[in-house]
Amino acid sequence: MMEEQLLTVNDLHISYGDADVVSQVSFSVKKGEIVCIVGESGCGKSSVLKAILGLPSLETVVTGGSIVFEGRELTSMNTKQRCRLMGVEIGFVPQNPGSSFNPVRSYEQQFRETLSSHGRRFDQAEVLDCFEKLHLTYGADILKSYPYEMSGGMNQRIAIALAMLLRPKLLLCDEVTSALDVTTQKLVVEELMQFRENCGTAILFVTHNLGVAAKMADIIIVMYAGHLMEYGQSKKVLKTPAHPYTKCLMVAVPDFSGELPCGLDGQPPLEGATMETCAFEPRCPYAGDMPHKNPYKMKQVSDGHFSCCTGRA
C-alpha cells in the first residue's frame, strides 16, 4: 500500500512571518489520483502547495511536520536538490496565467529553454501535438508569439501544455480556473483529466470552486482557517458531508432554481491556525454551549471518509 503513495503530507505546520498559516494538516496523494483541496480564500490551501514546492521566493516557512515525495523527505532537501525535482517530477501551474512566462520572449524560446534544462530536445511535432490535445489551434503561430499578446485563458492553457510536456509524476495546480471564464474553465478541467488518463499523472488541485472539484476530484479535502476539516472520496463528501462547514459550503453553492443560496455569515478568523478551539465555532450552526475538545482530531465517518467533526457535540 505504501508504494502507491506518491506524496504524503504529515502534520504540516506552515508559518508566514510570525503567523501560523497552516496547522496539523495530513493527507496523501496516490499515483494517478486527482485530489482537490477546497476552502475559502485564506484558508491556507495555496500555502500547502507552496510548501511542497519549497522555493525560497515563495516566502512560506515549514515549521513542523513532513512532506514525503516518493520516499524522499522534501523539507530536508537543499535548494539544489529541490530544483532537480521541479518540472519533471513535480509540476506547477500558478494561479496568475501571465506570471509563469517571461512576457517579452517568445513561447518557442521559453519552451526550448525549459526542455533543454531537463536535457530534452525541442520537438516541434510533439509540442504541436500537445497543443492539439488542449484545443490550442494554430500551434505554430502560438510558438512564435509573445505571452503579452495572449489572453489569460490562452496563457493558462499554454502553461498547462508546457507542464504536460515535461510529464511530471505530480502536477500541482493553484486555483488555475479562478481567472478564467466558464467555458475555458470547462476546457481546462477536461484537459487535466485527459492528462491524467494519458500519462498517469497525479494532480493536486487547489480551488474554491466546488463545481470544479465535483467534476474532477477522486478525493476532496476541505480546509478551513489552516486546518483540515474533512476529507474523503469525492462522492461521499459531496453527497453526505459530515463536517458542519462542508454542509454549509454545499448549501451555499448557487444553482439554477432561482432561489438565492444560503450564504455563510461572518469571516474566517485571521489566526485560525493557532487556535486551540475549533476555528469554525463562531459561525457553526451546530455549536453547543460546550466548546469542542480535540476539535481537529480526525474521526472516521465511513470507509475512506474522515472528518474532525460530525455536527454533534
Binding site: M86, G87, G91, S99, N102, E113, H118, L166
Partner: protein, 300 residues
Amino acid sequence: MQLIPILLALSFLVFLLMYISPGDPAVKKLTAQGIAVSQEVLEAEREKMGLNQPFFVRYGNWLAGVLQGDFGLSYADDMPVLPKLIKGMRYTLILATSSLALALAVSIPLGIITAVRSNSLLDHVVRMLTFAGNAMPNFLISVLLMYFFCIRVNLFPVIAKGTVQGLLLPTLALSIPMCSRFIRQIRAEVLEQLGKDYVTGLRTRGVREHYILFHNVLHNSLSAILTIVGLSVGTLMGGSVVIETIFRWPGIGKLVMDSITARDYSVIQGFVLIMAVIYVVINLLTDISYRALDPRIELE
C-alpha cells in the same frame, strides 16, 4: 523632427548671451595674438570681425554660414572653426568610448552579483564604495588620481598628449563616477526583475539558474541599462570638459574651456551647435534600441 527648431533656439540663446556679456572679443583676440591694442587697430579689428553690425545681421550671417558648413573663423587664431571642432571631437570620442566601455565592463557584472547575492558582505562593501564614489566630484577624483599616479608614483604623464598612455588616467577619472551610479541602478533593476512572477514560474519549471539569470533577467534588464547609459551621456560630455582640462587631453572639452577663457565666441557657438546635435542623435538612437529589446514598446 523637433531637432531643427531646437537647434535654432539654442544657437540663438547662446548668441544672445554672448552679445550681452561683458568683455570685448576684439580686445581679447588682439591680446591673445600678442598684438598691441591701440584705438585704430581695435577699430579695424572690430570692423573685420563684424562686431559693429546689428545683432540680427550678425546672427543671420552666422546661420547662413553654418548651413553651408562654414562655422566661421576662430577669434583666437583666425583658423576655421569646424575643423578644430572635428579634431577635438575625435579625441573626446575616444575618451568617451573607453570610459563608457570600462564603466560597463565593471558595473554590469558587479551590479548583477550584488543583486543576486544581495545583503552579503560583498554587497555591503560595494554599496559603501559606490556611495562614496557618488559623493566625490569628478574633478576631485582626477586631482587625487593625478597625485597618486603621476606625482607620487610617476607611472603616467601629467600631460596626456593624446597617446594611449595618456588615455588611461582620464578614462579612470571618468569611469569611477559612472561606475558608482551604474552599479546602484543596475543592482536595483536586477533585484526588481528577480522578484517578478515569471522568475518564480521559471524556477518551478526547473529551468537552470544560469538560463534564468542571463537569458531572462538580464534580457529584461537591458532596456533599463540602456536608459541608464543614455541618461549618462549628458554627464559624460559634461564631465569630459572638466577632465580634459585637468589632464590636458586635446578633446573638444578642453577646446571649449580654452575658448571660454579667450572669449573665442566663434568656437563656443559652433561647439554648442555640434554638442546639441550629438546629444539629440544619441537620445534618438537610445529610443530606437528600446524597440529591439522590448517588443511591447511602440515608437512614437
